[in-house]
Subunit: 199 residues, 2 copies
């Protein structure tokens, strides 16, 4: 069974890696199998469809990223500092991609959200849940900030948290389109404005 | 020649219509030709590639949308009212899509930006130019608002205009993902916060 689960993991890893830069429709099962060094014939032993595999790749991506979100947001220190560290880490991810591969590939989750939406409902549903979780994590931090008096109480809402994540996703889109992570240098000052917390 | 130019137009229209909901990679030339009622054999008489056709579909989309942007932003009245009308119109577009087709298809330009990026450089370059034009149009309006004293002068910048368009694209992403245009109800109050103009 050890070998079986390794092949499954390799398929998930290969999908995450290839799909981040190539998208969903442009990537075939044969290519995923080749990268994962898994025989194409055994693919359907592990996953019933490319869509099912993609949901697992999305889960793997978010499991890794979520630990970064919760670590940064649950650290000690003022709430706004924690939020800033999270957004700095998100910007840093894009910078590192550019340094290592030459390309700003953007956010795997946002890329899939705009490529697919209603076409692949299982992927769409999982993406929706993940973005809701991101928004809830930010909203909880805004609530802490309101308790600390650094954000007006009326800004500590799910709607404002959604605006913060939307603005992040939009700027990551421009960083990807321009293949230039410096677009994200403005992320924090404009987030402070959204929070009504700018000095 | 009349008939020739009609077939070309039909190919561009069919691409815009199909690609908005289906994306780029998931759409083949054969399907575009069928929708446009153009023989597949004559496709390459009009366009050298699907990429070249897509650039023309993007141009057609933006030509129509730009006239909406310039009409709203160049109207008479206070600058912030004009910006609000533009953003209301963008939200209205998504609402109308949902009413007519049942699906919030999002922004054709944003969808392509996140699906493709570096894979199809001619499309990417054109998208980059269009978003730069959008940002410049918003920046000019913010400058008018600063002249009128409704937006602080330090917010009348290209960086703030980019944040406004990024926030719009991010919220449209969530509206598409949730297939729910009411996500865009918060667009204006959060835009005012980005501008440091909230009451």
């Amino acid at each position: 069974m050890g070998r079986t689960s390794t092949a499954r993991e390799r398929l998930i890893d290969a999908t995450g890696e290839l799909m981040q830069s190539r998208g969903y429709s442009n990537l075939g099962v044969a290519e995923i199998c080749a990268k994962a060094e898994v025989k194409k014939g055994s693919f359907y032993h592990f996953f019933e469809s490319k869509q099912a595999l993609t949901v697992e790749a999305v889960n793997a991506y978010w499991n890794a990223e979520r630990s970064c979100w919760t670590t940064e947001l649950a650290a000690t220190g003022p709430a706004l500092d924690r939020l800033k560290r999270l957004l700095d880490t998100m910007a840093q991810l894009q910078r590192r991609m550019k340094e290592t591969s030459g390309t700003v590939d953007g956010c795997f989750l946002g890329n899939l959200a705009l490529e697919l939406a209603t076409q692949e409902p299982a992927v769409q549903t999982r993406l929706e849940e993940i973005f809701d979780e991101q928004i809830a994590l930010v909203a909880a931090t805004l609530n802490d900030a309101a308790d600390e008096g650094t954000v007006p109480r009326e800004r500590a809402t799910a709607a404002t948290a959604r605006a913060v994540v939307a603005h992040l996703e939009g700027l990551v889109m421009f960083a990807k389109l321009k293949n230039d992570p410096t677009v994200l240098n403005d992320l924090w000052p404009h987030t402070l404005l959204l929070l009504g917390a700018a000095g």
